[in-house]
């Protein structure tokens, strides 16, 4: 197979079929470049997942106004707080984000069958007699 590219992150997210997983793993055994990419993607993914979700380091969140703090220090504090908030949001997003439910094939089959059945004109057979 060609280099799997974005299939690597799909593999880590468990979105590949058994056959695709097998193909990608087979490719990884023989391709050092893709192994490196896979490890990099996994490391990035793991790093993001391991970001602190609840235990923020003390002092990063803004506290009630200390008097006359240097402007530069205050800016760094806000930047750090923003970064922590983003990390928290990413962590929560990855932890709680779930894929939408798979397509409802039964409903789609009914819609297609209904539309075909009411269509005037020619059809080879006027209904799907063996939907999967």
């Amino acid at each position: 197979m060609t280099h799997p590219g974005d299939l690597l992150s799909a593999l880590l997210d468990g979105e590949l079929t058994a056959a695709e997983r097998r193909d990608v793993h087979t490719h990884l055994e023989s391709c050092a470049r893709c192994r490196d990419e896979y490890e990099a993607v996994r490391a990035t993914r793991d790093a993001v997942r391991e970001l602190p979700l609840l235990d923020l380091p003390p002092g990063l969140l803004p506290t009630p106004a200390p008097a006359r703090r240097p402007v530069l220090a205050r800016a760094w504090t806000w930047a750090a707080a923003g970064a922590a908030a983003a990390a928290l949001a990413i962590g929560i997003g990855l932890a709680t984000g779930s894929a939408p439910a798979p397509m409802d094939l039964d409903t789609f089959a009914e819609h297609h069958t209904a539309r075909v059945l009411v269509q005037p004109g020619f059809q080879t057979v006027r209904a799907d007699v063996g939907a999967p």
Partner: protein
């Protein structure tokens, strides 16, 4: 009686015109006529695509404008704008509130026609050409205009699908009179907000409907074949496609399932999931897929974005 007379005239026109391809209008009339006839038949339909093949027997009855098809997976019935299906004894109905007129693409013309017999009945063997190449062979019953044999050909001339009636009784038949149809769904048109093209590889986007909460159903037809495309937010792979055949079009990967009457194709684009179901032949399907949104994987950053913001 009037229908029968028109049918006979149509077949006569086929016979007379066998020396040269007939106009698309004649073909359109002939095909349209076949759907008005009243009859009961039992048949077999089979489909072969590469290593995938599937076959089923079916019964079809048409009386008083009502059509019923019964197959191994259940039964389907249509009357007016209502289509009902039954797989466990009960009937559930879907109302299609609007649909476009049937139009036959002008790429189809009628080729040669020869007299034959089928099931002991006088019939006419007709070839329908697709831009000059045979696409459909039909043995049409002279009395009713009903195709007793239909062969759909792939681009290489091989038979892709064959539907053959093994018994045929013209005239009205008894329909079940105890059908209790529970109406469960309405298919309503929606403004064409989809990015799916208005025409693709010779197929016209006839109608666009809402399908569930956030899916779109686009129905395409060229008058001879038809298919539906369902566009949904990107989702996981439906379980039915876990073991589907993977095939490539222009280097892009799709999964297909072949049933006797249809092909089902699934793919994921970066932001959407698509399901195509229809009776179009493989070479048409390839052309269609090349012009629909292409498969693709989301990159890692896109996954993060989707996880955060949906």
């Amino acid at each position: 009686m009037r229908r029968r007379l028109v049918s006979a005239l149509a077949v006569a026109a086929v016979l007379v015109s066998s020396a040269a391809p007939a106009a698309a209008d004649d073909l359109s009339d002939m095909l349209d006529e076949a759907t008005d006839a009243e009859y009961h038949g039992t048949g077999v339909v089979m489909c072969t695509w590469g290593g995938d093949s599937s076959a089923a027997s079916y019964e079809v009855t048409r009386t008083d404008g009502m059509t019923m098809v019964e197959g191994p997976g259940g039964s389907a019935m249509a009357y007016g704008g209502v289509a009902a299906t039954s797989s466990d004894g009960g009937w559930s109905g879907t109302e299609v509130s609007e649909w476009s007129d049937w139009l036959l693409s002008d790429r189809y013309t009628m080729g040669g026609a020869t007299a034959t017999t089928r099931l002991g009945r006088d019939a006419t063997l007709v070839v329908v050409l697709d831009e000059g190449k045979p696409r459909l062979r039909m043995a049409i019953d002279d009395e009713t205009g009903v195709p007793l044999l239909t062969e759909v050909l792939d681009a290489d001339g091989g038979v892709y699908r064959m539907a053959v009636l093994v018994s045929f009784t013209p005239g009205p038949s008894d329909m079940p009179d105890d059908m209790d149809v529970e109406m469960t769904d309405t298919i309503a048109p929606m403004p064409a907000t989809t990015t799916l093209p208005e025409s693709v590889a010779g197929y016209r986007r006839a109608d666009v409907y809402a399908a569930g909460r956030d899916s779109i159903h686009a129905f395409y037809s060229d008058g001879l074949f038809s298919f539906s495309v369902f566009e949904s937010p990107r989702t996981g792979l439906p379980a039915a496609f876990e073991r589907a055949t993977v095939f490539e079009v222009s280097g892009k990967r799709y999964r297909r399932l072949v049933t006797p009457t249809s092909v089902w194709v699934h793919w994921d684009a970066p932001d959407r999931s698509y399901l195509l179901v229809g009776d179009l032949p493989p070479d048409h399907l390839m052309g269609v897929l090349q012009r629909l949104p292409a498969p693709g994987q989301r990159g890692f950053l896109v996954r993060l974005w989707r996880a955060l913001f949906g």
